[in-house]
């Protein structure tokens, strides 16, 4: 009987139920109150981000409806992509809690996406060049 009680608790959790091991930042507050100050702060943060996202989206839609025709193409693309990445950053860091995770984990997720931006630019540039090539190069 005593053998069961002395097995390595950590090993037991490691195989069966991992999240108890890694409370870390995402502490499970089962003993705490949902109306405690830290809970209220977190809820406040969530709603703050919601208002930011809503405001940015409204700005985007208004610009998209009324002003994007009069703006140079590069400015339109930059404007919308910057705002979109801003929204994505808020969602990923606050809603998905990546901002609360350890730095090495954050980097592991974010680095490939940063490289992905290079991918996007390269192919859009390629598409643009295709148009130039098809409309200006002499046909044989």
């Amino acid at each position: 009987m005593s053998q069961h009680h002395s097995h390595n608790e950590e090993q037991f959790y490691y195989e069966g139920d991992q999240s108890k091991l890694y409370s870390g930042i995402m502490n499970h507050h089962f003993n705490h109150d949902l109306s405690s100050p830290e809970s209220k702060t977190q809820i406040g943060r969530i709603w703050k981000v919601f208002w930011i996202l809503l405001f940015v989206t409204i700005v985007e839609v208004v610009v998209g409806m009324f002003f994007s025709h009069a703006m140079p193409k590069v400015l339109v693309i930059t404007f919308f992509l910057v705002l979109t990445i801003l929204k994505a950053a808020y969602i990923v860091s606050v809603f998905m809690h990546l901002g609360d995770e350890r730095k090495n984990f954050r980097l592991m997720i974010l680095m490939p996406l940063v490289l992905f931006i290079w991918f996007i630019i390269a192919f859009l540039y390629d598409g643009d060049f295709w148009l130039f090539m098809n409309t200006t190069a002499p046909m044989r």
Partner: protein, 249 residues
């Protein structure tokens, strides 16, 4: 090797085995990995859309294509419906975070309440998308549409703005080709996204049932709510990018 020392571990202790060097559970890390791969898939689709659009002489104007609103007949309300869809999805993301938050505090009733709202938001979004698809299909748009070179220009000129129509390439076939390409991409990408929303709703319902049955209370933690929350936020994120590429740019 208690977890209290995890944050002060040296490099050797971090990667020495026996615990996660990232201080996250296996399930959560794998969900993040899956989301990364899914992001690349969606990214590939959107980049393909961008490349095709950049090498087209003309391209449909979103303000002209997406101007309908349910029950408003033929009113010209550019981008309003899709803005509503974006708002619904952002709202459902907020309710999802609140469900995760309730889970951290062991508040089972709170989790149930916020999960329900999230599911409702997802179903509303899917209904809106279904309406949008039906409406576009009624005006002739679908996969593989607009291929007949004898199609009269009047049938697709409505999707373009004056600047595009004035371009000489428009009537020479570029207009028809662009319409065909646009709708292929539109239905594929929004369909793939809609499939993710639908599967997300199904998973949310499963997690809700588990919560109601007390599975997570017995388990001792609500990490499953967190993991499905990650998936749901990813779905919202993809929509943010799709919304930007198709409707704004």
């Amino acid at each position: 090797m208690s977890h209290a020392t995890a944050t002060t571990a040296t490099k050797q202790n971090l990667w020495g085995g026996g615990k996660s060097p990232f201080n996250v559970s296996y399930g959560k890390m794998m969900m993040w990995f899956f989301l990364l791969t899914d992001a690349f898939t969606f990214g590939a689709f959107l980049i393909s859309y961008g490349t095709t659009r950049f090498f087209s002489a003309v391209w449909p104007d979103p303000n002209m294509v997406f101007h309908a609103f349910p029950f408003m007949g033929h009113a010209h309300l550019p981008l309003l419906f899709v803005s509503l869809m974006t708002f619904i999805l952002i709202m459902s993301s907020v309710t999802m975070v609140l469900a995760v938050h309730a889970g951290h505090y062991g508040d089972r009733k709170g989790v149930i309440k916020w999960l329900l709202w999230t599911i409702i938001g997802g179903i509303c979004f899917l209904s809106c998308q279904a309406w949008e698809w039906t409406h576009l299909h009624h005006i002739g748009a679908w996969w593989g549409s607009f291929t007949d070179v004898n199609t009269p220009v009047s049938e697709y000129a409505g999707f373009f703005n004056e600047k595009a129509i004035a371009n000489p390439a428009f009537a020479e076939g570029a207009g028809l080709q662009a319409t065909h390409d646009f709708y292929n991409y539109f239905f594929t990408i929004t369909g793939f996204h809609g499939g993710h929303v639908a599967s997300g709703v199904i998973l949310l319902i499963m997690v809700l049932v588990n919560t109601i049955n007390g599975t997570y209370d017995r388990r001792g933690h609500y990490e499953m709510v967190e993991k499905i929350g990650l998936y749901w936020h990813f779905v919202d994120l993809v929509w943010v990018f799709v919304f930007t590429c198709f409707y704004l740019l």
